[in-house]
């Protein structure tokens, strides 16, 4: 992380992504699935922000809406100075090289009829004026960077294992020298022994190329390893956004606490003695979220106010933002960037 400039590379303000529900013969618009419902955060240049939560909490939708793979319902997203959500189509296309994505399923995100060289080279054809020879040189360079043997350039995706396919996906994302990469569950489909290989590669590339990551995952121990700060999402909203060490040492939001306590650890002694918080029931439907706090239906510390008033994400300790009525609102509003700067000094470098 060479770039220590304190300005955030990515600024997200009150991002909302609603998917309409149409019912009846006339397909009338009768409601919305509020997949992302007012999410705000910053990502500093060179930083890795971990985004964790359970399936259906909206974490992948955030990642996609952020680089406008969806058209968000409301909000602002600024990446390296441009407001992504208002860019005209051609300007957005010109912006794409700066922001890339690595997808969860390397099987589904690579075209089975294209060779490895074609897959990695496609963004170069689309966005750079390189000649065929220059392109091939760049393709080889990228394959070296992600640890793929150059001899495999003319092979097809099915000839590779899951971990190698994910390397192809990473090489494709790197092709245009992006600043910001959304990693959407990049290791979820891989075997344990292969996960470490891919995570180490992502970290090496970040060190070498000064990349900024949004690392979306449900694997809390892997996020602890890779992220500088972590946002915990629940039902379309951020429950807690804290520096990594502070969060894992003492989660403040009751959901973050329950989530961390639910992760089994490979240590029989500790597993035997651990007090686990077992949440009752399931996550409510994002089409019909509870009034007040989204977590009030399962929260072990629920109070009356939680069922009526929605808690705002506020800074409760320097650098730590929590959306919970247990923590009285202090003067500092959540949206100031001062918290982010503090974290960069503390943890980001």
């Amino acid at each position: 992380m060479l770039d220590a400039s304190p300005a955030p590379l990515v600024k997200v303000r009150d991002l909302k992504m609603y998917f309409p529900i149409h019912t009846g013969v006339l397909r009338r618009h009768t409601g919305d699935v509020k997949a992302v419902d007012g999410v705000s955060f910053d990502i500093m240049a060179g930083e890795t922000l971990g985004l964790v939560g359970e399936s259906g909490c909206g974490k992948s939708t955030v990642g996609r809406a952020l680089i406008r793979l969806y058209e968000p319902t409301a909000g602002e997203v600024e990446i390296a100075g441009d407001n992504i959500l208002t860019l005209a189509p051609e300007a957005l296309r010109k912006k794409r090289p700066q922001m890339q994505m690595v997808f969860q399923d390397p099987q589904a995100s690579l075209n089975p009829r294209m060779t490895l060289a074609q897959i990695i080279g496609e963004p170069l054809i689309e966005h750079s004026g390189k000649t065929a020879t220059d392109r091939l040189a760049r393709i080889y360079e990228l394959m070296d960077q992600v640890g793929l043997n150059r001899r495999f350039a003319n092979r097809y995706p099915h000839e590779f294992s899951g971990g190698q396919r994910q390397r192809i996906g990473i090489a494709r994302a790197l092709a245009l020298n992006p600043k910001f990469i959304v990693c959407d569950e990049p290791i979820a489909a891989l075997d344990v022994s292969i996960q470490a290989q891919v995570v180490n590669l992502l970290e090496d590339l970040q060190d070498r190329l000064g990349l900024t990551y949004l690392f979306i995952s449900h694997d809390l121990s892997m996020v602890r390893h890779i992220a500088d700060r972590v946002a915990v999402m629940y039902l379309g909203r951020i429950a807690e956004l804290s520096p990594r060490d502070a969060l894992y040492a003492k989660p403040l939001h009751p959901y973050a606490e329950a989530l961390l306590s639910a992760v089994p650890e490979p240590d029989p002694d500790r597993e035997g003695s651990r007090q686990r918080i077992i949440l009752k029931g399931d996550v409510p439907s994002p089409a019909n979220p509870p009034k007040g706090c989204a977590f009030c239906t399962r929260c072990p510390k629920v109070m009356d106010i939680c069922r009526t008033d929605r808690p705002a994400l506020t800074e409760v300790e320097p650098g730590r933002q929590v959306a919970c009525h247990l923590f009285p609102t202090t003067s500092a509003p959540a949206k100031s960037t001062s918290g982010g700067q503090y974290q960069l000094q503390q943890h980001g470098v």
């Binding site: 399936s55 344990v192 306590s261 992760v263 490979p266 035997g272």
Partner: protein, 334 residues
């Protein structure tokens, strides 16, 4: 049954191959293990290590062809169930052995009410009448913690969430009070908070019913929390086996040791860099004559290429009863 004892299930030298167009795949090689009454045996391995195929071959759930159980004995209830007729085997499945599959979304039939699916084995195997079966089905749903059980019997699988569906699957597997419950990655498709609910349920059920369970998973954390004994599989073989505490405290096989280190920790010091196991898991295209882990092993030497290691005891217990490992290299434990 060999050496009597407490074992409800005793598997000896199981070998399963798949005939494919590219040749024979030796998916399971000389796998031996036993399961004692009331015990939970964890089976760990990566995809393709043979852990699911082992369990499916021992109760004849693999389609043949392409699968062929080529050798071995599986002792259950005083009989070698590899040698019994298909008809008898059907009685064993469901009545003696319950199976919970990984994906609760696809292992329930979407067009039948869950009540019917729970009652079916009760009527078939236990000869209960419809009313009796319905009563028992309500008890079972209660047991697995589904609220308002009697009215939920008439719901269809899609009306349940993933965690609830897995509870229904467990209820079906428990329906005929089996001696052995085999759970194949039962929580892998679930979120961690829901996984925690299911793990808690299984602990409760074990106390109430004292059943013997085989729990297949790739998650070392889950194993550490619930298993009594662990069996680590790699390339279709058992590479290490032992009591859970001994195995986690003093792992012997280089694969087990590396596997434990590739998982980042949730507490304690944060590792600067994750340790990796280079290379890929093997596909066993021939009967192995060398150690299947040798190409990726940091400690491999000449003998590993020439001779597939047999399991040897690493404590003072008889082989297969205590902690054992299939490796030529001797681990030094500090």
């Amino acid at each position: 049954m060999p050496d009597g004892g407490d074992a409800v299930l005793d598997v000896r030298g199981l070998k399963t191959v798949f005939r494919t167009r590219g040749g024979e795949v030796h998916a399971v090689n000389r796998v031996s293990f036993h399961l004692n009454r009331g015990e939970l045996l964890g089976v760990v391995g990566e995809s393709g290590s043979g852990k699911s195929v082992t369990m499916m071959s021992l109760i004849g759930l693999l389609p043949s062809p392409p699968a062929e159980v080529r050798a071995g004995e599986v002792w259950l209830g005083g009989r070698d169930i590899l040698k019994i007729s298909a008809r008898d085997l059907r009685e064993v499945r469901g009545a003696k052995v319950g199976f919970v599959f990984q994906d609760p979304m696809t292992s329930l039939n979407p067009v039948f009410q869950v009540g019917f699916q729970i009652m079916e084995p009760l009527i078939r195997h236990m000869g209960l009448s419809k009313d009796q079966a319905r009563k028992r089905a309500v008890e079972l749903l209660d047991l697995v913690g589904i609220p308002d059980a009697s009215s939920r019997l008439d719901s269809y699988p899609h009306q349940f969430s993933g965690g609830m569906r897995q509870r229904v699957m467990i209820a079906i597997a428990l329906a005929c009070d089996p001696d052995v419950l085999i759970a194949d990655e039962p929580t892998t498709a679930l979120d961690v908070t829901i996984q925690a609910q299911i793990l808690e349920l299984v602990k409760e059920l074990r106390q109430k019913l004292g059943m013997a369970i085989i729990w297949i998973t790739h998650d070392l954390g889950v194993i550490a929390g619930i298993a009594d004994r662990v069996m680590v599989m790699y390339g279709g073989q058992v590479v290490e086996h032992g009591p859970v505490k001994a195995l986690f405290a003093r792992p012997q096989h280089p694969y087990t040791r590396a596997l434990l280190k590739t998982v980042p920790s949730l507490t304690g010091a944060r590792e600067a860099r994750l340790q990796v196991i280079e290379g890929q898991p093997p596909i066993m295209m021939e009967d192995p004559t060398s150690c299947p882990f040798a190409p990726r092993c940091a400690h491999a030497f000449l003998r590993c290429e020439e001779e597939n290691p047999l399991r040897r005891a690493v404590d003072d217990k008889t082989l297969l009863k205590g902690h054992d490992v299939a490796c030529h290299w001797e681990a030094v434990n500090g």
